[in-house]
Amino acid sequence: MFGVGARVRRKEDDRLLRGRGRFVADIALVGMRELAFVRSPVAHARILSFDIPEQVRRQVFTWQDLEPAGVRPIRAASGLPGFKVSEQPPLAADKVRFAGEPIAVTVAATRAEAEDIASQVIAEFDELPPNVDMLAAAAPGAPCVHEHWSDNIFLETRVGQSFEKDVAAAPVRISRSIRTQRQCIVPLEGKGLVAHWDRQAEQLVLYTATQMPHIVRSGLSECLGLPLEAIRVIAPDVGGGFGWKGLLQPEEVVAAWLCLHLGCPLRWMEDRREHLVAAANAREHHYEITAYADADGRLLGVDADAWVDAGAYSIYPFSACLEAAQVGSILPGPYDFPHYRCRTFSVCTNKPPIVPFRGVARANVCFAMEQIIDAIAAAVGREAWEVRLLNLVPPEKMPFDNITGKHFDSGDYPESLRRAVAGIDLASVRRRQLQGEPDGRLVGVGFATYCEQGAHGTAVYHGWGIPMVPGYEQVQARITADGGLELRAGIQSHGQGMETSFAQVAHEVLGIPLERIRLVHGDTGLTPYSTGTWGSRSMVMAGGAVATACRRLADRLRRIAAHLLQARLEDVTLSGGMLQSGQADITIAEIARTWYLAPQLLPADVDPGGLEITAGYKPKSDHGTFSYATHAAVVAVDAEVGLVEILDYLVVEDAGTMVNPAIVEGQIFGGVAQGIGTALYECSPYDDAGQPMASTLMDYLLPGFTEVPAIRIEHMETPSPYTEFGVKGLGEGGVIAPSAVLCNAINDALKARGAVVTDQPVTPARILAALRNARAEPPP
């Protein structure tokens, strides 16, 4: 009822519903001062000098202050051959490489006063030509963002071989240029931190809104030259992350150093303008794809070049190449076809570094690939879903190793598609299209199927050679003297409800009531090492570790129970928090009381580890889990003004065993909403000078209540053969398909007029332009 699979209410809700959560901005320390950052107004320039008024000189710090004190630049190399390393001084040294890059920091009693000082700091620049467009930046002769490099390519990767000869006779050949826009991540809470020196613990304590406290600690240690044990990183309640809080921020390094230097607690809260213009960028890709298919629409080969605008620096720990390199390995999606070649380029530009946003690379890849499938279907004159069905990996081939070596663990991909076709009622949409709408709008339907790797294993990350490689995920479990359970995990829950779902897992094993189970997370001082919450991994990895730890505790409990009940070990069972042998029983609480308060009653051979354990966990396969889904949508396009209304949106998904279906659905709803933003609204454009054009939420449009429909979800539940309970990672899934689905649906609506959109976001201007072009060149 409360264990794995139960739709229980969340333990974290009450405090949040009463406004009594504790987010980083809510932390006030005695003597705390506030920081404001001075940011570069230009995209690419040499810094000639600073003009800082004398009366505020002691409240302003630049790299000239940090560097002599031994602060080191942020460095995130990849071990992939040819990777060019960037060094990012947390305050720009002699050069600025994007508009918004921090160049100085100011300290004052309040944020307002720190900003007053920041406005008086004037830097003089010698401006250089900026690299704004990734294709131009990648071309020979472009000015180098990093002078000592030979070009602006962080890394080029190649997957597969040319296969022209093999497809020379292919009846269908589809080529597309596809663009996806630069986005901002925009968790509702921005980044923020409070740094102070704990004199008793002799530790730098950094409260920071992060998804990966342990990794931030490693990064800080590198940049500050402090040993790890002298640093404690604590993530309090965190107001959403989606990747933006999954990296070491330059501001964290600066604040940490400055609090040591000044000897007082410091706070910095990223404001929304900083977030939009200076930091949290993602997802800007360009594709040149050619696909070959037979006359039925069966894929014969895919040949692609992909560029990712990685911005000016390589971020810690994921590096600048993870996104593009992933494109190469995941572009084939859930499909099975014989020939594949892909080149990728991580391009360095004078824009903020990109960050792995939820569904990193997958959302873009799905957008590109699913457009191709629809185009093939159009070419062979079939329904797009039929062409999908023809190419999806069938269930009888599971587990399946795909063309890039991805190991799909389980599931029935075609079934998700068939259910989506039925659930969206394709036949009635087709009828409706024939009838036409009373209001003249054009109705269209679209589909997209994807599969998604979660809980990435050790080998892939070792392969990337970046500063972080996930190994065993550890959890500590402790039964308290009164029979409660404390879990300590190094991941961080910031909306995923892990305080509840981990408790459900522990309850499943030990039967301790949920209200007596508590998760401590996000604190390097209290939890085992973890790479943190990213990549749809926490439930699989840390959840698996919770189960493992609880099972081991159950063994120890049984041993003590056997002694106390005078029973044979093999006769003692644990269920519902009660250990039983025949008629005799004893509660976990009674055993705990014995361990802590009456040790004289314990057996001589009791495990001295007692009722506390740290267990590590990895799935049986290092390839992670593959969840998958088909999304389907019906849209109405107003061809006069280009507005799109989503009439219906259906997700048929399979993420293995669900620990808490409500949380699973919440993740999907939220992901789909973000994907709708990607598809239709969100865009962070830059002008030719490299200036960001969207600096407020008036310009950067987020989908709201009226833009997100009442999304429907149908579950399939194929357990993973490799994980505890068969769970699969799913946190990112929802966001992957919407832009593909909506684009396909819009194109389905526009096809009557011969128009096609290929770039996102699909704005009214793009739709009307496509319609104008279609009118200009009537279909052959």
């Binding site: 969340r10 809700d13 519903l17 504790r22 968790p187 809470e189 909306g495 919440g666 008036m698 209540f705």
Partner: protein, 163 residues
């Protein structure tokens, strides 16, 4: 919150039913006044641009943006924050419905959502789902996709009708 300014003055308000008088520079908006001065940190700041709605609180019983109301401009008025709605009946029903419908994830938008939702429930008892969405559209959530929030408000509207 800025108090060092020569422009700072005593601002007197009623906050959650309690009189409060505190020195504040005129540039201090209500959300900062409450958060930094009164340690009422339930009013969140998501943009300070008037768009996200995380800072929504009640001014003389009506929802307003805490980031766009300067504390000095609210002299003498009554402010209610999420912390002041512990005993409020509609808010209690909404909290119950929000948790039942999984209408929150990270919880950062939640206080503002509840304030706006309470206004919708009390002002528009007959609202259908489409109207609820329109009326709530000034509050952004980046986590939930709004599905649970709409259901929660629906549940409270229906329950109140049923008596």
């Amino acid at each position: 919150m800025s108090t060092a300014s020569p422009n700072a003055r005593l601002v007197s308000l009623t906050v959650n039913g309690r009189p409060v008088a505190r020195l504040a520079a005129p540039r201090t908006h209500l959300a900062d006044f409450l958060r930094e001065g009164e340690l009422l940190t339930g009013t969140h700041l998501g943009c300070e641009q008037g768009v996200c709605g995380a800072c929504t609180l009640l001014l003389d019983g009506e929802p307003v943006r805490g980031c766009l109301a300067y504390a000095v401009a609210c002299e003498g008025r009554a402010v209610t924050t999420i912390e002041g709605l512990d005993q409020d009946e509609t808010a209690a029903r909404l909290r119950e419905a929000f948790t039942a419908e999984h209408a929150l994830q990270c919880g950062f938008c939640t206080p503002g959502m509840l304030i706006s939702a309470r206004d919708v429930v009390e002002r528009l008892p007959d609202a259908d789902d489409a109207r609820v969405r329109v009326e709530m559209s000034g509050n952004l959530c980046r986590c939930t996709g709004y599905v649970g929030i709409v259901k929660a408000i629906r549940r409270v509207l229906d329950d109140r009708k049923a008596g």
